[in-house]
Symmetry: D3
Subunit: 200 residues, 6 copies
Amino acid sequence: MTSVASFFFGVVVALSCLSLQQLASAADPSLLQDFCVADSTSSVLLNGVACKNPSTVTANDFYFRGLHVAGNTSNAQGSRVTPVFATQLPGLNTLGISMVRIDYAPGGQNAPHTHPRATEILTVLEGSLEVGFVTSNPNNNHFTKTLYKGDVFVFPSNANPGAITIANAVFGSQPGISADILAKSFSLDVATVNFMQSKF
Amino acid sequence: MTSVASFFFGVVVALSCLSLQQLASAADPSLLQDFCVADSTSSVLLNGVACKNPSTVTANDFYFRGLHVAGNTSNAQGSRVTPVFATQLPGLNTLGISMVRIDYAPGGQNAPHTHPRATEILTVLEGSLEVGFVTSNPNNNHFTKTLYKGDVFVFPSNANPGAITIANAVFGSQPGISADILAKSFSLDVATVNFMQSKF
Amino acid sequence: MTSVASFFFGVVVALSCLSLQQLASAADPSLLQDFCVADSTSSVLLNGVACKNPSTVTANDFYFRGLHVAGNTSNAQGSRVTPVFATQLPGLNTLGISMVRIDYAPGGQNAPHTHPRATEILTVLEGSLEVGFVTSNPNNNHFTKTLYKGDVFVFPSNANPGAITIANAVFGSQPGISADILAKSFSLDVATVNFMQSKF
Amino acid sequence: MTSVASFFFGVVVALSCLSLQQLASAADPSLLQDFCVADSTSSVLLNGVACKNPSTVTANDFYFRGLHVAGNTSNAQGSRVTPVFATQLPGLNTLGISMVRIDYAPGGQNAPHTHPRATEILTVLEGSLEVGFVTSNPNNNHFTKTLYKGDVFVFPSNANPGAITIANAVFGSQPGISADILAKSFSLDVATVNFMQSKF
Amino acid sequence: MTSVASFFFGVVVALSCLSLQQLASAADPSLLQDFCVADSTSSVLLNGVACKNPSTVTANDFYFRGLHVAGNTSNAQGSRVTPVFATQLPGLNTLGISMVRIDYAPGGQNAPHTHPRATEILTVLEGSLEVGFVTSNPNNNHFTKTLYKGDVFVFPSNANPGAITIANAVFGSQPGISADILAKSFSLDVATVNFMQSKF
Amino acid sequence: MTSVASFFFGVVVALSCLSLQQLASAADPSLLQDFCVADSTSSVLLNGVACKNPSTVTANDFYFRGLHVAGNTSNAQGSRVTPVFATQLPGLNTLGISMVRIDYAPGGQNAPHTHPRATEILTVLEGSLEVGFVTSNPNNNHFTKTLYKGDVFVFPSNANPGAITIANAVFGSQPGISADILAKSFSLDVATVNFMQSKF
């Protein structure tokens, strides 16, 4: 999907995994190493991160501690994303997958956003939340669902290179995104959002 | 890049090519056909379009007529995209490339948008225009340039699966996108845009 | 990684996501659809599943209910995998990602196994467990870790096409896999496992 | 397509975009950069070019000036290709797309050639020209078309790994390539070309 | 490499494998099948071949008989390629690899050719032969080697989308391709080939 | 295929090629080099090997000598693999293909193994041998065939990311793998193997 919009309400804990559409490790057919753990000390600037010497890799390079800790949601959006990316877990380097915990305060939300090259799969561990995504031009269909504990939802990455006009996707989707959500995301009052939605 | 925002002014004619990040034709190592021309009559729903029988393919399947014709820019945005996609040129099916002509009336614009999986390369044939794109979270840097006839600009697709929060990218980029452009795109007055920009 | 061996102990609930190394959706550069929801009624046998007509797709196609339900671990291995694959969640079709819940009874285990083309990222929701994987020939290094609630571990897919001799990886890794685990996996007594391990 | 043969006549200005069949940027799932601008000063020899430090990247890295300038066609083939590749526009690095302007003097031609891994899409800005391509063994079909201003043609890259015997594709296609073109390309007289064509 | 030119002399038996640069099987993350054996009876025209029903697949679908049989080299080029492609071995469908046997009569040759998307690795089983390939514009370097029994040579596919002008690669490489080979390939006398080579 | 098990008997000489499922050379659209020959002296640790300076590359970088030499099979398994990987043939770097010779003493075998990301295509040059592979969970079907001189067999890589439980694939396939083979592979007596097979 293109304009992935996730809107969450209530005290919610969710776990998401993000998967790149294409893993492009510059693999050698007779490579002597099985992985490419990120070497954060390397000065070589690749499109990616250089690898640690395999002989120094340990199990801790594939390990991260802390997803049981609630994120601090005392912020304007009332939500917090705790990422487990290659910066936090070096063994993820080149593997094209990552995991995040998302906490929401009551009424919190994760403002409309996109993941440019990733599919997201999410499950709710506690609470309930409303999720959705909007398709690309010209339809800008809004697929939405309220999720409860144990529910799983996928925000597809898009097989369509066509355009998503941001204003149309956000303010002109069918059906419309809740004006409350948009007001909070864009620092507008609800009346202004209603006015904007009427224009699309 | 993630939140690709192209803003164009003046009577402008531009040509763009869009290239998918990954072409994924389900190629067989001993396929007897050299191409997969879209068969618009097929009832098989693939992720893509089924192929015409190669023995019925002619040069016209690789051909499109009409990019010399100016697009009608009498619309709210003052611009018109004339696409040459596989719908218009069936031989493009599975090849991961397409071309568009974009016409702009004086003061016209192509509202902020994204191409979910495509890189865009653009050249100006007539007139001048302002182009730009905004990078992903957390920086939301705004790269912008005024282009003249013969200039080329690339809107990169993104090697970063991280999030782009739409409101931040559009109203909170550094430096800011022109309030005039945003007002037109979002059907707001300039004062409201200025207010929104001050919030990010 | 090649011979991915996951060994779990205690009453454990874990969530894993699996990500294909290459997503290969046969994407068309001007595809009019944003996704390819699996059409389980199609008689066309592709390498993948044909798509539903996009106009009939609803939010429920991206939704699955039930990961909050504990799996039944009354079996020889004392564990249960609850999958969320495209069979359970049709919108996952072509996206290259999936999610599973794994329950373990006390002393249960998930026998040594491989995921031929997938990377796995796992987090522990309850309990503690021992995880590990073994690298390819000739080293067959065993990377192992005990995980607690909130810990994350990645079982990398392999960038190395070389061979993994199964007997060497399972019975000859350095350090060795626990004889208790292997005895249970292979229906052997511990003395036989110890004898086999001494041979490699 | 395999043996892509483009033959152009008249005073012609054409614009082409070339798109690699596979973009393989070694992308990290939690890369902090959105692009990999070519660092021409790097001494690291990759299959590709190392990236500039993202903090030093500016809009000019995505910009090229000069496609409005006619190329000098005073040469044996009577044509000139003005490339916009990563050498000219560093921001194109790893993006798998490029653009060229091609000028033709009256009677000029771009000798039969192949683009090993790229699809080409071309539009005529001025003049008219004859274009074509030849399919792989055993058929060596010649698809040909005369293009005028505003016409678009795609030279497909090939989904067929089979062989293209050069002599057969060039001198034995069905229908044959014009003897005038081949004489100029191969520095032969027309009678010799006619003789060679009669052998295939 | 781009213009792959293989020239073989003597009574030679060689085995080659061809590997596609990108395997693009439209794999589903929870596909229930492990392979996609070509279904030659399917009427669905994909870019590739539809799969047989997995329940009807047997070991014979992965098997081909006959590479021990010498090919008939009584033809103008004095060589014969015996292919093992998916047409001959249906289990190869979607796997991106194939194998061929090539027989050469004394003085026979395999005319200069390209494999548009494939790398070739070759070993000599009997006899000796001269092999080579030519790089892309502007250098058109000719890498050449005489091989004996047990030697292996790789004809790389090309990481360079740039142009290979056929006349330059074939008649203007450095060092030049033997005039005897070119005369035979192009049905010319040696004097004409010498003349053509002097032009580049 | 997932659990590729190849079991060979008799004095056998076989040639195999291995092809990576995805070649991911980080190709630049305007790269000036046609190949990336492995630079074994580079200290940069990539996921792959850095390239030699193209101006120092010679034909010998694409060449290996010695596949006509029989491997020493005086070892416990009675077989020997002679690899031609990028370590032996630097020009193979990034190309995703390799070749091996396998020699078997009478009664020798190549123990059950997997190639994590590679498809293997094999032909018998001398002797006869029994080959096979086992599919993934839950079926663990065993496809097996006796091959003679000139026969070709493909061991598919797997389009299925699902699990292969090692004990089930090796001891519980349908039909079962010969107890003699398993006894030799796992350093067990035949009676113990028979007992283990009865458990699955």
